[in-house]
């Protein structure tokens, strides 16, 4: 693989492509990383580990009060019972939205996020604007996402400063009685599980 800033056709690579390629070539050449391991990691996070996992957890909690209780007392174990866990989800907590209080999750210090149930975080979650304003002006941030809470609802912001990872369980929308878990999971957006969205019926 070339590492002189040009691709196979001789065109100039953008700086970050060149830099990343050069670093991978260097490390692979020294036997420090296996490119196939990099491929496997990428494949996991592009295809298998994503917010559909968390949506299934939420749908199960809506459908099964016993599961919701397990989620309250030992979220890591409850989530593991659905087959999800591991990296950046080793110490899970589920926080439930109610009419009295809405939950919002942030990592002001970097980008800590519950990868095991939501996959990789979006750019906005990891950027300075959200990281600084979520704790300072949560309602202003929610307004940017088109979310306006009733005045009587307080906002609770969870700054993920340790290794606990937070999954917001949004309120179940009206008019969803009798829907099965698969259909319910389809109502749960990634943003609703961070707290920057609500689950809405269609």
């Amino acid at each position: 693989m070339p590492h002189d800033g040009h691709d196979e056709n001789g065109s100039t690579l953008d700086p970050m492509t060149a830099r990343a390629m050069a670093l991978e070539t260097l490390l692979a050449g020294k036997g420090l990383v296996e490119p196939a391991a990099i491929d496997a990691i990428v494949e996991l996070y592009e295809t298998r580990i994503g917010p559909r996992n968390g949506a299934q957890v939420v749908a199960r909690a809506w459908s099964d009060p016993g599961f919701a209780d397990r989620l309250r007392t030992d979220a890591t174990a409850a989530i593991a019972s659905l087959g999800y866990g591991g990296r950046q989800g080793e110490h899970m907590r589920a926080v439930f939205n109610t009419p009295a209080e809405h939950n919002l999750v942030v990592c002001t210090l970097c980008s800590c996020y519950p990868w095991s149930v939501l996959g990789l975080p979006p750019v906005w979650y990891k950027a300075p604007a959200y990281r600084s304003r979520a704790v300072l002006d949560p309602r202003g941030v929610l307004a940017e996402f088109g979310v306006t809470l009733p005045e009587a609802t307080t906002v609770r912001v969870w700054d993920s400063t340790a290794e606990l990872r937070y999954l917001v369980v949004p309120m179940r929308p009206e008019g969803t009685d009798g829907m099965d878990e698969t259909a319910l999971a389809g109502l749960v957006s990634r943003d609703a599980m961070i707290g920057t969205g609500l689950a809405v019926s269609r």
Binding site: A22, L23, E24, V33, A40, W124, P138, V155, D159
Partner: protein, 209 residues
């Protein structure tokens, strides 16, 4: 402050460029050598010069920090990073193989530890104050939450202490607490009265209020 709107991108792709995929995989695979804990990698990112940090995209921060970690641990040299010929460096204790990836991700890196009879200093409901500290090294006590009065909401467990572990001083685990603050305590009298913020704090960050 002053970073502008959050401006979420609609239908954002997982990766915005092919090199970002490699940056993610490379960082995790290099971490798989077991040469540095996650705390040290976080410090490597946050200690990039501020002008570089704020001018860099997320995965650019990862690549730059990974370069620092690799040099610090003797795996690569500055000359090699600048395009010079490869030279022998440190030998890793292990290298992550492709076949091991699913199990490694599924295992993760739990950082709770056995308290071994050490009791928590605080209990749910206790009034506490976060310390005013300004360490040169890694800490997980955010600046906005230093010297602030809050309440212990929950005792969360006994965890590896990043302030120590990031700098090769050992895991030194401590009890961790969720500490809840009124917005006014953090931001002053113009704060939203219907807002509360919590952090997860190691015992070393706290004193009785």
């Amino acid at each position: 402050m002053g970073f502008g709107p959050v401006a979420p991108e609609a239908d954002e792709p997982v990766f915005h460029a092919g090199w970002e995929r490699r940056a993610l995989g490379l960082t995790l695979a290099a971490g798989g050598m077991g040469a540095w804990p996650i705390d040290e990698s976080r410090f490597a990112r946050e200690s990039l010069p501020p002008a570089v940090y704020y001018a860099s995209s997320y995965y650019e921060i990862w690549i730059r920090a990974l370069e620092r970690l690799l040099v610090r641990h003797g795996f690569v040299t500055e000359a090699e990073l600048a395009g010079g010929p490869a030279s022998p460096g440190a030998t890793p204790k292990r290298v992550l193989a492709a076949a091991e990836v699913p199990a490694a991700i599924a295992r993760g890196g739990p950082c709770d530890r056995d308290p071994g009879g050490r009791a928590p200093a605080f209990a749910a409901g206790d009034a506490v104050r976060t310390l005013v500290i300004h360490p040169a090294g890694h800490t997980r006590l955010p600046r906005y939450a230093r010297g602030k009065r809050g309440r212990i909401e929950a005792v969360q467990g006994f965890f590896v202490f990043p302030d120590s572990n990031a700098h090769g001083r050992g895991e030194a685990p401590e009890w961790v607490y969720t500490v809840l603050f009124d917005a006014a305590e953090l931001w002053g009298r113009d704060a939203d009265p219907a807002s509360r913020v919590s952090i997860d704090a190691w015992e070393s960050y706290l004193e009785p209020a």
